[in-house]
Amino acid sequence: MVDQTNSSVAMAADYATPTAVKPDLRTRLQNLIPKLVLSPSLALMLVFVYGFIVFSVYLSFTGSRILPSYEWVGLENYEKLFRLRHWSIAITNLGVFASLYIAICIAIGLSLAIFLDQKIRGEGFLRPIFLYPMALSFIVTGTAWKWFLDPGIGLEHTMHLWGWESFQFDWIKNRDFAIYTVVIAAVWQTSGFVMAMFLAGLRGIDNEILKAAQIDGASNWNMYRRIIIPQLRPAFLSAFVILSHLAIKSYDLVVALTGGGPGRATEVPATFMYSYTFTRNQMGIGASSAVIMLMTVAAIMVPYLYAELREKK
């Protein structure tokens, strides 16, 4: 691909100036246009993404409070950050949330994809139902689930009305369990998407191998375990990468569902950063927490993107 395109550009230049030894002004301008067209986007990106990252990293080493200050304090903010109980709660919560969220989404996504791949009648009807929550805002999802899980009016109350008096489901009000309600709502929103990724992977598998294995007497279970699921490796990887970066970035859903509460039971790094920076006026600490978040995402995304882009060469 690379060689082909380059040679085509080179050839075009040759044709445009068939006799001249040196390209004339017009041709040189023509050759500049692509770079000129790309430059506004590049400038925006360099300033608003990478410049801003540098600035935030710098702030994390300063004693900024309500406004940025340029007083250098070294690693003090990071030391403070990791001594804060608030922060350790936030990262523990993220750990619990992210691992459950990723594991359950992949389990549900893969199962639904395998089920849908069995020549199911009504697949075209079911698939959009599994996937529509992905089109909703996390604020809408949070509103719906907050109420559905509210013991006084939602599911628990309904079960009581239906005569199941001992039914108890008050996780959203319970400090020890509230983080799991965030998992439930987040899984609801994105597991259909994971299903779509696995389904695309399943549809890409060569059936000849399966038919051969079937003739050899392999059971369905063994075919999935030995042949099909190993071939879904790229889908597993993509799902993991996408879900983990979504988990680290989760902010809206927590705000809408629990607001970080009860107490600090569902505080996560994204809500921590926001409250320290904008309501508690501890900008230095807020910036250092954002840097930690960025490094976590980068540790996952950079190797992935590097591998993806290298393959193309």
Binding site: S8, V49, K119, L155, L305
Partner: protein
């Protein structure tokens, strides 16, 4: 994705099939339930919700909560309903989607058909920008918007969404143009067509599907954004999601659940409509964002 092109070779017994259908139906219920119940309860009077059964159909059907959510519910300090915020969102979404899609198309065209040394690294940098946690840019962005004099305004939000949407739109068009036959471009160049004429006459006319994908993706993302809206918008530029959150989480007075539900559905309506009309393209956009192919 759209058609079951490769027939699955696996055959299943009757009991297994029954189990599979049961599971599929259970999950369909799981996905439909929260939103469905919200819909049912948005047309009930409040008295039927408080103490009533959320699963029950309304005894008295009323559209009052919907009207209230739209134009008279208390949001912040003003009893304006969600209506002004709905327009705020639209005013923000249309320019942001248009600009980021146009820039993405041009970038994708340059990155595939006018390649130069180092272009893959540049693309990698743009792609990584899609995935950064936006917390890392909140503080400097607030400063820069203030410096540019567009803090708390719709143009400011448009700028933010264009910048952080560019990576995705570029990705879509780059992947799409990558498989576009380069011979056609070469032939046009031989005929003397320049950069823009090739883009306009050859690339754009065949870009229909990917434009739809990009527009839908950007529309959904920007409409659903909460973080930027909450951080950078003033009262007169706040988008729908922020207003909805204010409506739902305001602690004063009686909690009018039916109004909250109607509001949540109003906030979800535009993206849901897009999904219903063009779900195929929405899925394609999602997939392109995950599996770069």
């Amino acid at each position: 994705m759209s058609v079951a092109s490769t027939e699955n070779a696996i055959s299943t017994g009757r009991i297994t099939r029954a189990f599979i259908y049961l599971m599929l139906i259970l999950f369909a219920t799981f996905y439909l339930l929260p939103f469905g119940i919200m819909l049912i309860n948005s047309v009930k009077p409040l008295s039927e919700i408080n103490g009533g059964n959320m699963m029950a159909l309304p005894q008295v059907f009323t559209l009052e909560p919907w009207f209230k959510a739209w134009n008279s519910a208390q949001i912040g300090v003003e009893p304006t309903g969600l209506q002004p915020y709905f327009w705020n969102s639209l005013k923000m979404v249309f320019p942001a989607v248009a600009i980021s899609t146009v820039l993405g198309a041009l970038n994708g065209y340059v990155l595939t058909k006018w390649r130069f040394k180092g272009d893959t690294i540049l693309f990698g940098l743009m792609l990584f920008a899609c995935f950064i946690p936006f917390q890392i840019v909140l503080i400097p962005m607030a400063r820069v918007l203030g410096f540019l004099g567009i803090a708390g305004s719709t143009p400011g939000l448009v700028l933010v969404h264009v910048v952080y949407g560019l990576g995705f739109t570029t990705l879509y068009f780059r992947n799409y143009y990558q498989v576009f036959p380069t011979e056609l471009i070469r032939a046009a160049q031989i005929d003397g067509a320049g950069f823009f004429r090739i883009f306009w006459r050859i690339m754009l006319p065949s870009s229909g599907p990917i434009i739809v994908v990009s527009v839908i993706w950007q529309f959904t993302n920007i409409w659903n954004d909460f973080l930027f809206g909450a951080s950078f918008a003033d009262l007169d530029s706040q988008p729908m999601t922020v207003a909805l959150n204010n409506l739902v989480s305001s602690s004063t007075g009686v909690k009018e659940y039916n109004v909250h539900f109607a509001g949540a559905i109003l906030a979800a309506l535009p993206t849901l409509l897009v999904y219903i009309v063009a779900g195929r393209y929405f899925v394609r956009g999602l997939m392109a964002g995950s599996v770069k192919g």
